[in-house]
């Protein structure tokens, strides 16, 4: 009988793993990677290749963990690939006039991270090819396709003229990375949750000398001593949204293990953050399986869409001209120089935006011209495009091979004959450029997926303000994409190992370890108390109420009082009945800390900004020029310090005003 149907009062089966609470294991490394996702794996591989002794710590299992764990279909910004019409520097020049750039999805991006991505995306993909991932049409399934290059067999997406987004067969990306880690003898600690950073003298603000962690199956304690530490643990997801009755506990699109542990640890250690005030509305569990409904966007670009009566919805180019053929959807508009990617989830600047469905679709649905529900008319698509959408993209993108391609074909779905329905959204949303399977949640639910959050500030070495601490991927200023993770990972693998190979041996302070052990084991020492889910639901409610769609000083300050009060009261009385519940409880504590960080960052920005999805009722002025900057927050001596950095700090002193020169100086090529 499944455990959740077990009769009450029946004898409970014992936890199947040995319980090792408080038992310590000490591990030494040159480079310690916290987080075994895409960026962590690339960092580990590149540090190991430079001769460093590398340890990677992962809460789940590296073979499939992280947001990239279940696959990848698009490889972005591969501007140095042999078919690319532009070089990274040309693209940087071309997009320099666009205030929203240089970074995805828009505004307040990390310019250096984007430049690194453009420079190394193709190389990172070649690394994957050597590791066994198929990056070309080696099986000749798409010969003659418009998106396929005859000579290289590379297949392109979005912009068939400039050829910089590559369609890849990345369902097995993580197993390939995992195999390489083992080949390079990287020591992998699966099922270990990192809970705190170690610092040189036990104080925050000092050199980071490693981390501490807890085994999620046995509860054993780990002390990781390292000369350099790379934080690669993404952000706090499922902070505002939580429901036990909605699929995936009403989490966001990405890895549910992303609880902000890296953010919380770095915050306690005195690292500086920015953009934590940024967020976006999320559907949480009110969505459909990712990529699993008929769509015109992203993985489904550029599928013909029809309404309930079979009437086709027209496509237009970025200037609003009606397109006559399918082929035109993947081509530059007259006078256009570059299409960066799909407009979803937010329309890009028109200069770099691709084709889309008619912009007034919402109104025309309301007027009755187009009848819901819509359908993705795969049968009408040219054969190669059809097979590319359903077979290549849906089939290799994360969470599609088994959950969508496998499940739907098993149930009889045939893209040659069948039109997959789009999930029903309100007319106002159905006409917008969002991935439709992502649904609509309550307005007070927010989240940070798809690059809508913040994170650690890094320099051109991908180093934080703390000596010995580096950051990669989604951990950095909310930067988000598979290729950003891969490229920043491989870059930091080089810079962190270069530092480590010359750094002093770290010294560990017992006091810091004792304090952390007392903190992490408290929940298993409670005889009774509340469960972690009640704590999580309470935290989410505080975020929804006091840090929601519209913020004010009085709301945020009340919210901070609530979070502090929860820390003293309910959070101090959570009872964890086994190491798994302990992990989930500690995740709640990370979320609580990140919630505080977000509220402090929100208080600091005294202006509203649509680009940050940030609205203050008490400071309604939109993007006044003096606020076009990064607001930074960090903890010093127990107090929150605010500061600011120019919006393009990576081109200002101590750096030089040239991406190319900064890259040449720091990238260790």
């Amino acid at each position: 009988m499944p455990a959740h149907n077990a009769p009450i009062g029946a004898s409970t089966l014992k936890w199947p793993y040995p319980i090792r609470y408080e038992e310590e294991t000490e591990v030494t490394a040159d480079v310690l990677i916290l987080g075994g996702g895409i960026s962590g794996c690339h960092a580990a591989i590149n540090a190991a290749k430079r001769g460093a002794k590398v340890v990677i710590v992962e809460k789940g299992a590296v073979i499939r963990s992280g947001s990239g764990g279940a696959g990848v279909d698009h490889w972005h910004n591969a501007f140095t690939n042999p078919c690319s019409k532009y070089t990274p520097d040309e693209v940087t020049e071309l997009t320099a006039h666009i205030p929203e750039y240089p970074s995805f999805p828009e505004g307040y991006g990390a310019g250096h991270i984007t430049y690194i991505e453009r420079m190394e995306s193709w190389e990172a993909l070649c690394d994957m090819e050597k590791m066994g991932m198929k990056i070309r049409d080696v099986d000749d399934q798409f010969v003659g396709a418009e998106f396929r290059d005859e000579k290289t067999k590379l297949m392109f997406a979005y912009d068939y003229d400039n050829k910089h987004v590559i369609r890849v067969q990345g369902a097995n990306v993580k197993p390939c990375l995992y195999k390489e880690l083992k080949r390079l003898k990287v020591r992998i600690y699966d099922r270990v949750m990192a809970t705190g950073l170690l610092t040189e003298d036990g104080h925050s603000g000092s050199r980071v000398t490693g981390a501490m962690g807890v085994n999620t199956r046995t509860g054993a304690f780990y002390i990781f001593k390292a000369k350099a530490t790379v934080l690669a643990s993404a952000q706090a997801l499922r902070l505002w949204s939580f429901s036990t009755e909605l699929q995936g506990l009403a989490g966001e699109h990405d890895d549910p293990n992303s609880a902000g542990d890296g953010c919380a640890m770095a915050w306690q250690a005195g690292a500086a953050f920015t953009l934590m005030e940024r967020s976006m509305p999320v559907a949480g569990g009110f969505r459909y399986p990712a990529y699993g409904t008929g769509n015109a966007h992203n993985t489904w670009f550029a599928c013909t869409m029809v309404d309930a009566n079979g009437k086709e919805i027209p496509w237009v180019d970025q200037d609003g001209r009606l397109l006559k053929t399918v082929s035109q959807r993947y081509r530059l508009a007259p006078g256009q120089q570059l299409i960066l990617c799909d407009p979803a989830p937010t329309p890009l600047h028109p200069d770099i935006c691709g084709a889309s469905l008619i912009p007034d679709l919402s109104e025309r649905i309301m007027k009755g011209e187009f009848a819901l529900p819509f359908f993705a008319d795969l049968p009408s698509m040219p054969e190669h495009e059809r097979r590319a959408i359903f077979g290549l993209m849906v089939g290799n993108e994360g969470k599609t091979r088994v959950p969508i391609y496998g499940a739907y074909t098993q149930a009889g779905f045939d893209p040659d004959k069948d039109m997959l329905q789009a999930n029903v959204l309100s007319p106002m949303l159905a006409g917008m450029f969002i991935p439709w399977w992502s649904g609509a949640g309550p307005p007070q639910w927010r989240g940070v997926s798809f690059g809508y959050g913040g994170g650690l500030i890094v320099d051109w070495d991908l180093k934080t303000n703390l000596e010995g601490l580096y950051a990669t991927g989604n951990q950095v200023m909310g930067a988000c994409s598979h290729t950003i993770a891969a490229t920043s990972g491989r870059y930091a693998g080089r810079t962190a190992s270069a530092y480590a190979l010359n750094a002093q041996e770290p010294v560990i302070h017992r006091k810091q370890i004792q304090q952390e052990k007392a903190r992490v084991y408290r929940p298993v020492k409670q005889k009774d108390g509340i469960g972690w889910k009640e704590l999580q639901a309470g935290l989410s409610r505080v975020m929804q109420d006091y840090c929601g769609e519209y913020k004010t000083e009085s709301l945020l300050k009340t919210g901070l009082e609530w979070l502090n009060s929860i820390r003293e009261s309910e959070a101090a009385h959570v009872c964890a009945r086994n190491p798994h519940e302990l992990m989930r409880t500690l995740e709640c504590m990370s979320r609580l800390t990140v919630g505080e960080l977000i509220m402090h960052a929100s208080l600091a920005r005294k202006a509203s900004s649509p680009r940050l999805n940030f609205s203050r009722l008490d400071y309604p002025q939109i993007d006044p020029p003096e606020w076009n900057k990064f607001i930074t927050t960090r903890m010093q001596n127990g107090k929150v310090q605010m500061d600011a950095l120019p919006y393009n700090y990576w081109l200002l002193p101590p750096n030089v005003p040239s991406f190319k020169e900064n890259y040449e100086k720091h990238s260790l090529r």
């Binding site: 959740h4 369902a171 499940a407 149930a411 009889g412």
Partner: protein, 112 residues
């Protein structure tokens, strides 16, 4: 006919997420060790399939199904509130995931 009734708490989630077939499972525990959210635990009796202990934490990534060496031994199913339909273009017939008398499976594999 004799009936038995038990005290059973509400399930953690409106679905089972992952179901293991005890006839086909060889107890290799690959699914247990691949799952990123640690949804399954080994049964204390080593001749029994793993227990799906935390179905509510399932991310529906399908990695357990992907790595299981025994075809059909483990199934991952989206719950009813996550099921969508499709229309056969030529005939207008409507089908959906989970329907009674579904059409025959499409056996064409994905690319890769």
């Amino acid at each position: 006919m004799e009936y038995n009734a038990y005290l059973i708490a509400n399930p953690a989630t409106p679905c089972q997420s992952v179901v293991i077939d005890p006839e086909l499972c060889t107890h290799c525990r690959t699914c247990v060790n691949v799952c990123l959210t640690d949804v399954m635990v080994p049964h204390p009796d080593k001749d029994k399939p793993p227990i799906v202990l935390y179905p509510d934490e399932c991310w529906f990534c399908g990695s357990c199904v992907e790595h299981c060496p025994e075809p059909g031994a483990i199934r991952m199913e989206h719950p009813l509130n996550q099921r969508i339909g499709w229309k056969r273009k030529a005939t207008g017939e409507y089908f959906r995931v989970g329907m009674h008398n579904p059409p025959p499976p499409n056996t064409r594999p994905p690319v890769g």
